[in-house]
Amino acid sequence: MALFIYGTATNTGKGFFTAEDRRAFFLRGYPANVWVIGNNEKGALWLAEKNGVEKTKSEAQALVTAEIDAAKTAWDNNNVEGESAEEKIARLGEKPSDVTLP
């Protein structure tokens, strides 16, 4: 049995996940509203109750990668004339790096 369920769901705020949920199953949020959820009955039920859309791992990874790639492009294109690489990092932060889902 796979360890995780992958899905997308919009964090609607209070009550989206409870402390009881966190104790009952693994839950980790990623860019593009992707959630990695422990593969047990309560985890699966949580995604369904949140009107989430289950994805395969590769589909979920593709969504995260697309979001990060867009951020990388935005970072690459955000330049100030005469600015050094160090100054750019100080201004914008490091260039986004790849995120690999577990």
Partner: protein, 618 residues
């Protein structure tokens, strides 16, 4: 039906509500006339999740107890990136903190003893090893070697009366052995041979040199065989109900508990043993193998292992027999901010919080706007006089907050002037001598301090605020900004910060700074309690290290030691956070470069409550 009066010689009390439950009620029975049920305060058995190991690993060593455990060695997942570990972590009953490193990194390592007098021996680097090391609560020192280099052996006893039995040796393959060796604090001597040569056994570190138990393991295939040791020879005992290997064991020859294992699939199952009979026990929450255990049958600790052939785990679970129900601490979702942002100031608590300023990268704008939180939702409050980001976090309350430091990006301007919020509007406060971008703030609006910050480089300057003006105080022993802070002006702790991230901590008594223990790892952009926290009960949530890598991990500080705590659901950095541990919240922050979150997470601490059980006839 059984007659309680005939058995006990007295009648069952009829109560309209459950009594106030204390340990004095253990074993008592009463009839709750309101609920119409028979109730009692009985021992409950359950596993509960606890804070994870700092480093996930399998086939590690174990020693100590449920409230003072020791984890050492082990390995990261085979694929990708297999690596043997020399890390030691100490458990205090709620979280793990860093201990001294082993002289020799090993996995499938043996271990016994206590957190302050531990023993590690054998293992695999790769290549079977015979090194022995003793732990004194701070550091490991090398001792005399085992006679037979081996790994995956059973281990029991203490630092001065240890036992190593079975395991497997280098042979071009896996060759189980039946050797036993006894340690007297100085050297190893030969003990009685196992009847069945085996490795990957379950044999708890709590056992003794003269009354040990070895269960399951590999003999070439997985076995269910069990043997007892009396200090000189092994005798066969009642076999496990099924085969299993490489699981955890806690307790003694006459009161044992096995849990997890590879049998051959990873399992959640647990079994109790009374010296004669194996019976089912409550299951672990997560299937695991290569895990280890320590403690007793009624107060056991399970940690580490692997959940598949490629994934190691940092999971920690406690098994308890108690009249109390323990509910682990956890973060839950709170209301979403109206404006996603990072580098935001914060104050207050989980039910009366405020955030102000920061930067919304989606609109490339530094913000002046504030938002107030009522425990459910955020509502927009009045704007500060000056839009600013990387403003200090954590001083004051929702109705008496202090914003200090920070900068505006275009045109680039740093600010020394503070602003005060009274629950309805922002007004200018005092002006500091130095710039304090990303300063770590403590205290209240009328007794605050801005600690460190950034004025072109990380700084250690401290300036105290009395509600009117800033005055220069003694400097910190390290320079940093965007770290965590907790406590009032006269008893505070500051830790981590950067850039790129350090693991220092400092304590402040209102006059002087002293260096404290190091955090579990270097961290920048971590969210702390601020002035509503305390020097002896602090939290640091999230953060960042170059990569860039955003953290979901959380650390606690108890006045002495940093330890792991339940993690955030979403990794984030430069997040506003505030509140004492019992009412801590974190909101917003960066989830990747250029992407801010609007989500809030609220912390609920661990609770331990005596709980009545409804009694039935079945």
């Amino acid at each position: 039906m059984a007659d309680y009066n005939a058995i006990k010689g007295r009648l069952v009390q009829t109560l309209s509500s459950d009594p106030t439950l204390t340990s004095s009620y253990e074993g008592q029975v009463w009839y709750n006339s309101t609920e119409g049920v028979l109730k009692g305060l009985v021992l409950l058995e359950a596993w509960s999740s606890s804070s994870p190991l700092g480093t996930a690993r399998y086939s590690l060593g174990a020693a100590g107890t449920q409230s003072a455990g020791l984890a050492f060695g082990g390995a990261l997942p085979p694929s990708p990136g297999f690596a043997t570990q020399n890390l030691t972590e100490e458990y205090n009953g709620s979280g793990w903190s860093t201990g001294g490193t082993l002289g020799s990194a090993r996995y499938y390592i043996g271990g016994c003893g206590s957190q302050t007098a531990g023993l590690a021996f054998g293992g695999n680097i790769p290549g079977r090893r015979n090194e022995t090391e003793e732990y004194n609560g701070t550091s490991w020192s090398e001792q005399n070697n085992l006679s037979t280099a081996r790994r995956s052996m059973g281990s029991s006893g203490t630092q001065t009366a240890g036992l190593a039995s079975g395991g497997d040796i280098d042979s071009g393959g896996v060759t189980p052995v039946n050797n036993t060796e006894e340690y007297d604090g100085t050297s190893w001597t030969t003990g009685g041979a196992l009847n069945t040569a085996r490795s990957g056994v379950m044999m708890g570190p709590a056992g003794t040199q003269t009354a040990a138990i070895i269960a399951g393991g590999y003999t070439g295939s997985v076995t269910a065989a069990v043997e007892h040791y009396d200090g000189s020879s092994w005798t066969n005992a009642t076999s496990l109900p099924g085969t299993r290997a490489n699981g955890g064991f806690a307790g003694l020859q006459t009161a044992g508990l096995v849990f997890g294992a590879i049998s051959p699939a990873r399992t959640t199952s647990a079994l109790k043993y009374d010296g004669t009979t194996w019976t089912s026990a409550p299951s672990l929450a997560t299937s695991v193998g290569g895990n280890v255990g320590t403690g007793t049958q009624s107060a056991a600790l399970n940690f580490g292992g692997s959940t598949s052939s490629t994934v190691s785990t940092s999971n920690t679970e406690e098994f308890s027999q108690s009249i109390n129900v323990t509910t682990a601490g956890a973060f839950s979702s709170g209301g979403n901010l109206n404006s996603a942002r990072w580098g935001t100031g914060s104050a207050g608590t989980q039910t009366a919080g405020i955030v102000f300023g920061g930067r919304n990268p989606a609109i490339s704008t530094d913000l002046a706007l504030s938002e107030e939180y009522n425990g459910t939702s955020w509502s927009e409050g009045p704007d500060m006089g000056q839009a600013r980001r990387v403003v200090g976090r954590g001083t004051g309350t929702q109705t008496a907050a202090l914003a200090h430091g920070g900068h505006y990006s275009s045109p680039s301007t740093r600010y020394k002037v503070s602003e005060e919020y009274d629950g309805s509007s922002w007004t200018n406060g005092g002006t500091s001598t130095n710039f304090h971008d990303g300063t770590m703030q403590i205290g209240t609006q009328t007794a605050a301090a801005s600690c460190g910050g950034y004025d072109g480089s990380p700084m250690n300057e401290t300036e105290e605020y009395d509600g009117t003006s800033f005055s220069t105080a003694n400097v910190m022993t390290y320079s940093a900004y965007m770290g965590a802070a907790a406590g009032p002006q006269t008893a505070a702790v500051v830790f981590a910060g950067g850039f790129p991230g350090v693991n220092n901590s400092n304590e402040y008594d209102g006059t002087n700074w002293t260096a404290g223990n190091t955090t579990l790892s270097p961290n920048y952009g971590i969210g702390g309690n601020g002035g509503t926290g305390s020097q002896t009960a602090a939290l640091g949530a999230g953060g960042y290290t170059p990569g860039p890598i955003y953290f979901s991990k959380v650390e606690t500080y108890d006045g002495t030691t940093f330890a792991t705590a339940p993690s955030l659901a979403t990794a984030r950095s430069e997040l506003p956070a505030s509140g004492p541990n019992s009412s801590f919240f974190a909101a917003g922050g960066l989830i990747s470069t250029g992407t801010a979150s609007n989500s809030t997470e609220e912390f609920t601490g661990e609770t331990v409550v005596a709980t009545a059980s409804t009694l039935t006839t079945s």
